[in-house]
């Protein structure tokens, strides 16, 4: 089985994101970029499945700017076999990403698609579900435990009520949650090896996905500043303060 893992280049989770002065987006110049952390977990899971003999090949794919090669190289250094970048400098919205992935999945004849449950930049949480619908295959989302048994996958899902165990037939789409695994550290010799692994760069147009943006962003604003708290001297003062606020 071939596993296809989708990865997105996003602003690093340690970086404090700022809205640009015009309010048309966030500042990306000179800002550290990384693999979307959920996608990194997906890469790790694919590698573990391969190491357990449940898959033969792990292919990582990204749709994004030329610089997304860096993130694909990181995935190759973790252990993925090869990488493909469909280069698109403009923003790709979730439905367009799902349609693009459908083309790639079919071209690659993948048996399993592993994706992060959402990207930490737009937090859309849509691509995996949309891809499963377009592909007309089963989906297991928010997965925190995954096992292959023959032609089915046993997946534990993190749902509002707790945990849910389901089985899905392969081929399938799986989106992964935070607790599924802890990605490995990249080793220095593997970074060297990754430089020699295949990384194909193709124009996005080659996928034949023509999609005008479905969503229009009105404006970007930073969250309102929190007002500082105040200290009160006594319980009576606290009660009075709450009454003044109309809480009591």
């Amino acid at each position: 089985m071939k596993i296809l893992v989708g990865i997105k280049r996003v602003i690093d989770y340690n970086v404090r994101v700022q809205v640009n002065r015009e309010g048309t987006g966030v500042v990306k110049d000179g800002v550290k970029m990384s693999i979307n952390p959920f996608d990194e977990i997906a890469v790790e899971e694919a590698l573990r499945m391969k190491e357990r003999g449940e898959a033969e090949e792990v292919v990582v794919v990204s749709v994004g700017p030329e610089a997304a090669q860096q993130q694909l190289r990181t995935a190759l250094a973790m252990g993925a076999d090869r990488a493909v970048l469909y280069q698109a400098e403009e923003e790709i919205q979730p439905l367009a990403a799902a349609r693009a992935l459908l083309q790639i999945v079919q071209a690659e004849d993948a048996g399993l698609v592993l994706l992060g449950k959402q990207a930490i930049d737009d937090d859309a949480n849509q691509v995996g579900q949309m891809l499963a619908a377009l592909w007309d295959r089963p989906q297991a989302t928010f997965v925190s435990k995954l096992e292959r048994s023959g032609d089915t996958l046993k997946a534990m899902r993190e749902v509002d009520a707790g945990l849910e165990n389901i089985e899905v037939d392969l081929p399938a789409v799986v989106t992964v949650d935070l607790r599924l695994n802890e990605p490995r550290f990249v080793k220095m010799p593997d970074i060297m090896k990754a430089k020699r692994k295949p990384l194909d760069i193709k124009p996005f147009a080659e996928l034949g996905v023509e999609m005008p943006p479905q969503l229009e962003v009105g404006a970007h604003e930073p969250p309102p500043k929190r007002q500082g708290g105040t200290k009160v001297e006594s319980v009576a003062a606290l009660v009075q303060a709450l009454k003044d606020k109309g809480v009591l």
Partner: protein, 553 residues
């Protein structure tokens, strides 16, 4: 090497040259080496999560050495790069400021205000395109030394392990994701760690490189990037000040560099030889920002980024021997910064290039120290050698001495002594006897109106992160003196000199006090390693990729 290393199998990678540190010195050396020796295998290690993540500098750069190294840099300038405009030098009092003549070393015509972090990213891209292997996220942890006594030779560097978990022992134990650091073996290893490098410190001691040098001396610098309301800045304007809030005896001053797009770099540098243990460099910086001149500039603006880093100030007479068997110290790892110019970048680049030229010609480290001292970079340091030590006798003596030394052009027949910083503190009792800056600071916090609220609010803008499970990388050899001897003698100055509040004295639950180390706040400035009056704090590299994530700093 610790007992923990027994039984751990490590990959060994062989290189012709290994460079520890991705700042201007290391990157300049890598680029120049590859240009001179295209066949050489060269790797460069950087402890930050990416190149530039741990770079913090003013920074007004003299472009000459970079022009020579990378002539094309001006065609593709770093994200922040503003040609220097007018220079201003002022003396501050509590409410007013007075224009002083700008010292000749501080004239900046032809220079550039740059983000050094961004510039380093471009230098790294250049190095990689030439074939240098650049490894961000991989700290050097131990120098590898072969042989004993006079036969001892540096043969490379051991990278830090990943995935160690704290267990009460200094090095912790391997966790589930443990990945041992590789051993890098190289014909020559170049240590370009910047000010107070943790491996350089070990090597200076091991090879007695400072045997003929005077004590090294340091400053602690703070920097903030502000976005201001429209129309307040003059792009290219370079402002420096001395005076308030520091007293006459304390060395230091401010910088304000006006950028484009209504942004400014605001910073403050304090000599770490200050004497009052109650003094807080961070508070001094915040006080400075509340001077009427500064408040008018900053009020209503917003902080984009903050950071802190020590600066090496010993200059010519404190410069250790820069070569040893198998290795070189370059840049501020050795101490090539020019203090009167308040510039180190051009000197760091020169020292890196010179190291490459020397190695390409001589094939071995021996002789680099002499070559550096005889070079233009060495001569630049020698000429200004007496200026910083003159300030040991106060601001006004220092300024008069600086003027004299400038007129003499370094031809004075004497060399003033430097002194170490860790033993410069007066006792708490002596400090209380005469009221210093600390008393002013104590009454002052209430009226603060500009952000950040405190050190924790400030470090938020440094994007610093350390995996919480890892062993503490600030090794305090003896914490028993914190609540007793140190509390009595100096009142735990670590709780004030640390720019991000790593050190705290907390209730020990038994009616006493104990030291708590908030290691995850650390921005790798090294002030604690330098200023701790008992010299029991040892700063070591944490897990790779830990530390600040400076952006456009």
């Amino acid at each position: 090497m610790s007992a923990h290393d027994e039984g751990i199998e490590r990959d060994v990678m062989e290189y012709d040259y290994a460079i520890v540190g991705g700042g201007p010195a290391g990157l300049a050396c890598a680029i120049r080496l590859k240009a001179k020796l295209p066949e050489a295998n060269i790797c460069l290690l950087e402890k930050g999560s990416e190149i530039g993540a741990h770079i913090l500098s003013g920074c007004v750069m003299e472009p000459g050495p970079l022009d020579e190294l990378m002539p094309s840099w001006r065609d593709n300038p770093p994200a922040i790069c503003v040609p220097a405009g007018t220079d201003e030098f002022r003396f501050y009092t509590r409410q007013r400021s007075y224009k002083l003549p700008t010292p000749p070393q501080m004239h900046n015509a032809g220079n550039f205000i740059v983000s050094l972090g961004e510039l380093c990213k471009q230098m790294a891209a250049q190095a990689e395109s030439l074939g240098v292997e650049v490894f961000p996220g991989f700290p050097g942890r131990h120098p590898l030394i072969d042989g004993e006594g006079d036969a001892a030779r540096v043969i490379g560097v051991r990278c830090g392990d990943m995935g160690r978990e704290a267990d009460g022992t200094p090095d912790g134990r391997p966790g589930d994701n443990f990945a041992p650091g590789v051993d890098i073996h190289a014909n020559v290893t170049l240590f370009a760690e910047g000010c107070r490098g943790s491996l350089s410190k070990q090597l200076i001691r091991r090879f007695e490189l400072d045997r003929d040098a005077m004590p090294q001396t340091y400053g602690l610098g703070f920097k903030e990037l502000w976005q201001l309301p429209e129309g307040r800045t003059t792009p290219g304007l370079i402002q420096h000040s001395v005076g308030w809030p520091l007293d006459n005896a304390t060395y230091g001053g401010s910088f304000v560099y006006h950028l484009d797009q209504d942004r400014v770099y605001v910073g403050y540098v304090v000599g770490l030889d200050y004497a009052d243990p109650r003094f807080s460099p961070f508070e001094a910086f915040q006080q400075f920002k509340h001077h009427p001149d500064m408040r008018a500039l900053l009020a209503g603006g917003e902080i984009i980024a903050t950071g802190a880093r020590t600066i090496i100030e010993g200059g010519w007479q404190a410069l250790p021997k820069m070569d040893m068997p198998g290795a070189l110290l370059i840049g501020d790892g050795a101490g090539t910064l020019n203090v009167p110019k308040i510039k180190g970048v051009h000197q760091a680049i020169r020292s890196g290039m010179l190291a490459a030229d020397h190695l390409a010609a001589a094939g071995e480290p021996a002789g680099y120290d002499a070559a550096f001292r005889a070079s233009a970079a060495g001569e630049e340091l020698r000429k200004v050698r007496n200026i910083r030590p003159g300030f040991n006798r106060g601001l006004w003596f220092g300024m008069a001495n600086a003027a004299l030394e400038t007129v003499l052009g370094g031809r004075s027949p004497w060399t003033l002594k430097t002194h170490s910083d860790w033993d410069s503190l007066n006792s708490l009792a002596a400090a209380r006897a005469h009221d210093g800056q600390a008393a002013m600071a104590a009454n002052w916090e209430a009226e603060r109106s500009l952000p950040p609220r405190d050190r924790l609010a400030s470090v938020y803008f440094a994007n610093t992160a350390h995996e919480e499970a890892q062993p503490v990388h600030l090794r305090v050899a003896d914490t028993s003196i914190c609540a007793t001897r140190c509390a009595e003698e100096y009142g735990n100055p670590c709780t004030r000199f640390c720019p991000v509040g790593v050190y705290e004295m907390v209730d020990d639950g038994q009616g006493g006090r104990q030291l708590q180390i908030n290691a995850s706040n650390c921005v790798h400035c090294k002030a604690c390693d330098i200023k701790d009056p008992y010299q029991v704090i040892d700063w070591v590299t944490p897990e790779g990729g830990s530390g600040p994530n400076y952006q456009t700093m």
